[in-house]
Amino acid sequence: MKKIAVLCFGSFLLCFTCVPDPIEDNKRALVNVEVVNGTLSGLENISVKFNTGEVVIVQNQDENIFLQDEFILASQLTNSNGISSFVSLAPKGDFRDSYVVINPKEFDENNVDPNSNLETVAYLIEDETLDISLPQTILREKTGLTVRFINNSSTADFIRFVITYSGDTNLVSFPSGAAMGEVVIEDSIVGEEIFLERTFSTVIGSNATLEYQIFQNNEVTQEDIITIAVTEINQLYEFEY
């Protein structure tokens, strides 16, 4: 009987400690967001979520930022002026990251379909402020950028390149404003290959940079940094060397 009691008590403790405890007692945060498009008109019905979880930044061609173990503290849609203002439960300061996600990629808890044509912007809240009044946020249109490498050189042994671009999920620190959503992809092409393409998911209005070095006999014979202005849907940039 004593063993059963100890077992039950142990199970209870185990279950209790397994339950997440992300919410701070006696606290509320105020979240104010204004979402506009490229012409600064308010964007309606954009989902805004205040989450606690873990922000993971990766350098991946398909997905540059992961928001893991999300726990939604509050969510709301923007009104016709693109404004969302709500009071939220407050996350425990030392628990995990807290962040506001505008236009999350997945369905929100109200089953609101995300606007798949627009980028996702996440503000990582740096301190334990309860007043989260974010700056006006421009949601840019998503697009694909294809960089095509064409080898017309008979002398190049290989080309090493670094492409830096703004992903379609962008992370910004609040209140400092530092952007952390840039993706850096490094790759190289051996001389025998004459054709290679890389396609990235980025946003219109951003700039991508192509930094390259062409090698011959293990020496750099040519290098440069090229800025590519992303201005259209499914943009193609051809680089010949």
Binding site: I23, K27, A29, V87
Partner: protein, 227 residues
């Protein structure tokens, strides 16, 4: 356990033990009867209403609940201890938070006076101080709380049914001072609230007067009994 609850429970216990001690002492010394009475109240709170411009009034639909109390009536005043529990459904998540319901608990003690209108009816006003706990849980998490202190003013009318039981109807007005922290711009909306709680219930009298030679029957001690 919160310090306020501990203090409230300590005061209630001390009051009860003190009353029983006084009861024994009075009976021993006089050999007849005490001028103290111990009551227990079991009631329901019906359709409590939050009032004012605050997040409870604007964002909750308060539900009915239960009211448990004890009172010690002395010759000059009454001492009260009370526990009140009810629920509240969140009606506006944008001002309360993203969860569905809250359990409200109030623990209080206070002082009052009993006015006897006639043999059957008495009116008991009192003032109380206590601890209020709003316990909530969002799906998939542990419970979290908002809490604070409150003052309340209570008016209770009792109708004597038998020597042991009476019915009561009462109304209590609460002024809450909550610890909730928010940005300054909205602090006033969250750190104070008010509410009115109507209640109905049964009062149980545990002390019966001692039979005295030449006096028929048992009954509840009152000031009218001659002490």
């Amino acid at each position: 356990m919160n310090l306020n609850i501990r203090i409230a429970l300590l005061v209630i216990c001390l009051a009860i033990f003190s009353a029983q001690g006084q009861e024994d002492k009075a009976q021993d010394s006089i050999g007849t009867r005490s001028n103290m009475v111990l009551y227990f109240d079991f009631g329901v709170v019906i359709a409590p209403q939050a009032i004012g411009d605050n997040f409870i009034a604007k964002g909750y639909n308060l539900k009915s609940g239960f009211d448990f109390g004890t009172s010690i009536k002395t010759k000059y005043f009454t001492v009260h201890g009370n526990i009140l529990i009810h629920g509240g459904k969140v009606t506006d998540n944008d001002i309360v938070g993203n969860f569905n319901s809250t359990s409200f608990s109030r623990y209080s003690f206070g002082l009052g006076y009993s006015f006897k209108v006639n043999d059957k009816i008495s009116v008991d006003p009192s003032v109380n101080y206590g601890y209020v706990l709003l316990s909530s849980r969002k799906a998939g998490t542990r419970r979290f709380k908002d809490d604070g202190n409150f003052f309340s003013v209570d008016l209770q009318v009792n109708y004597q049914l038998t020597k042991t039981f009476s019915l009561y109807a009462g109304v209590t007005g609460f002024t809450d001072n909550l610890k909730v922290k928010t940005p300054t711009a909205i602090q006033d909306f969250y750190d104070s609230s008010g509410a009115i709680y109507p209640a109905l219930g049964i009062r149980f009298n545990t002390l019966k007067r001692k039979r005295i030679a030449g006096e028929p029957g048992d009954g509840i001690f009152t000031r009218r009994d001659g002490l």
